[in-house]
């Protein structure tokens, strides 16, 4: 729990036509090789936001190695379900599987629990768009908007004030970006520190479609909401 409260913030917002996840990366720096993130198939730098299945994405906060292990377990569980039932695993069931695993580590074997909190953002035919949060105890609950990691209290109250039922996914994106801007440690937002993902329904196929933004797309999104870094030359010129 301690490790999680120091980890990079992850927030999720549920809209009527989609779900949004935004996360602050802690592992950054000039020497970091991000070429995989720019072209990678499933998107993301592999630090905060992961694709669990075609209908579920997840943001993690806590011990990264534990998180990787849980993400792998979740991916296997989702495929096992697909193998038996020939359908995408319902979001709540996936959250339950992970939570059953996490709970086991609090009761049996004398092993230490997974030091990870996760946000699950997904879609299924039963309950449409959903957002769940689970913690190391194996407890989970469904949310309209929530936050984990550092500054989650501040972010949570900001979300509580500004969230409205039936918001559109575009408004949810705006809300997520604004709240991240207010809670993140750094002074300005940029693609090296921010990871962003949206899950919507493809208009023609009516199938869930997950999109983890590439760094260039994150910068474009921030510019659109007027929160990106300004060009340094431009500032100098203005002065």
């Amino acid at each position: 729990m301690e490790a999680i409260s120091h980890a990079g913030t992850v927030l999720g917002v549920l809209a009527k036509d989609g779900v949004v996840l935004a996360a602050e990366k802690k592992v950054t720096g000039k020497l970091l090789d991000l070429s995989g993130a720019k072209e990678g198939g499933y998107g993301g730098s592999g630090e905060k936001i992961f694709l669990l299945n075609s209908n579920v994405i997840s943001g993690v906060a806590g011990i990264t190695a534990d998180a990787n292990s849980l993400v792998n377990y979740a991916r296997t569980a989702a495929q096992r379900h697909l193998f038996s039932y020939d359908e995408d695993i319902p979001v709540e069931q996936l959250a339950q599987r992970l939570c059953d695993l996490k709970q086991g580590y609090t009761q049996y074997g004398g092993l230490r629990p997974f030091g990870v909190s996760l946000l699950y953002a997904g879609y299924d035919v039963h309950y449409q768009f959903q957002l769940y949060h689970s913690d190391p105890s194996g407890n989970y609950s469904g949310w309209k908007a929530t936050c984990i990691g550092a500054n989650n209290g501040t972010a949570q109250s900001l979300l509580k004030q500004e969230y409205k039922d039936d918001i559109s996914v575009e408004d949810a994106i705006g809300l997520a970006v604004r709240v991240m801007g207010k809670t993140m440690d750094s002074t300005t937002l940029g693609s090296e520190k921010l990871e962003f993902a949206v899950l919507t329904l493809d208009k023609s196929t009516k199938q869930p479609h997950a999109r983890i933004y590439k760094p260039a797309e994150v910068d474009a999104l921030l510019a659109e909401h007027g929160l990106g870094k300004k060009e340094e030359d431009a500032e100098m010129k203005a002065a």
């Binding site: 193998f83 038996s84 039932y85 020939d86 359908e87 319902p90 709540e92 069931q93 035919v125 039963h126």
Partner: protein, 194 residues
């Protein structure tokens, strides 16, 4: 000697089965129910090796009920059929496979569509508008090819079913007696007097 039919129509699936329980030349029972209700909107008829049939059918019924209790919603027809097929496919390569053939009919509440699946003891599955298991298939399938209408009303569907049953009564060497007919639609499952 068992005979089962099923057909889909506008917003419903009809599943029908003979009601004879016989061993060799003796007819033990003429009111056997060979159609299990797997959920609020799903039916499954079964036939095959005596003993295996009821054992497998009850195993499926109880597991699907557990799923519904655990996860607060019943499995959709397509997912249930895939799971059932997987059970038969796994059983095939075990020490003693289940020799059971099924017709699984259900109404998918999420998409408001009726669905029908033909599954045999090898784990073969076919998603089709009408189906038959047993000797009855030799007589009924051609009739269904000619007279089946996927947009038919329940009355029309039952009329088509009557055609199939009278053909079997006329041409099958063994008299099968009464047929049990059940329907599943948006309102649930119910039995129908033909």
């Amino acid at each position: 000697m068992e005979c089962q039919f099923a057909l889909t129509g506008k917003g419903y699936v009809i599943v029908a089965s003979d009601t004879t329980a016989a061993r060799s030349i003796v007819k033990m029972k003429d009111d056997e129910d060979k159609i299990k209700t797997l959920g609020p909107h799903m039916l499954m008829s079964y036939s095959g090796e005596p003993g295996d049939t009821v054992q497998f059918a009850e195993y499926i019924e109880r597991n699907l009920r557990l799923h519904q209790i655990r996860y607060h919603h019943p499995l959709r027809p397509s997912s249930a059929a895939s799971w059932i097929r997987r059970q038969l496919a796994d059983s095939l390569r075990s020490r003693s496979p289940y020799a059971v053939n099924l017709l699984v009919g259900g109404y998918d509440i999420a998409t408001s569509e009726p669905h029908l699946y033909w599954i045999d003891y090898l784990g073969t599955m076919a998603h089709i508008p009408f189906a038959a298991q047993g000797y009855g298939s030799y007589f009924a399938l051609s009739l269904l090819d000619r007279y089946h209408n996927p947009e038919a009303s329940l009355e029309e569907g039952l009329e088509t079913l009557r055609r199939c049953i009278s053909e079997v009564e006329k041409r099958l060497i063994v008299g099968l007696g009464k047929f049990k007919v059940k329907v599943v639609d948006r309102n649930g499952t119910r039995e129908i007097e033909l």
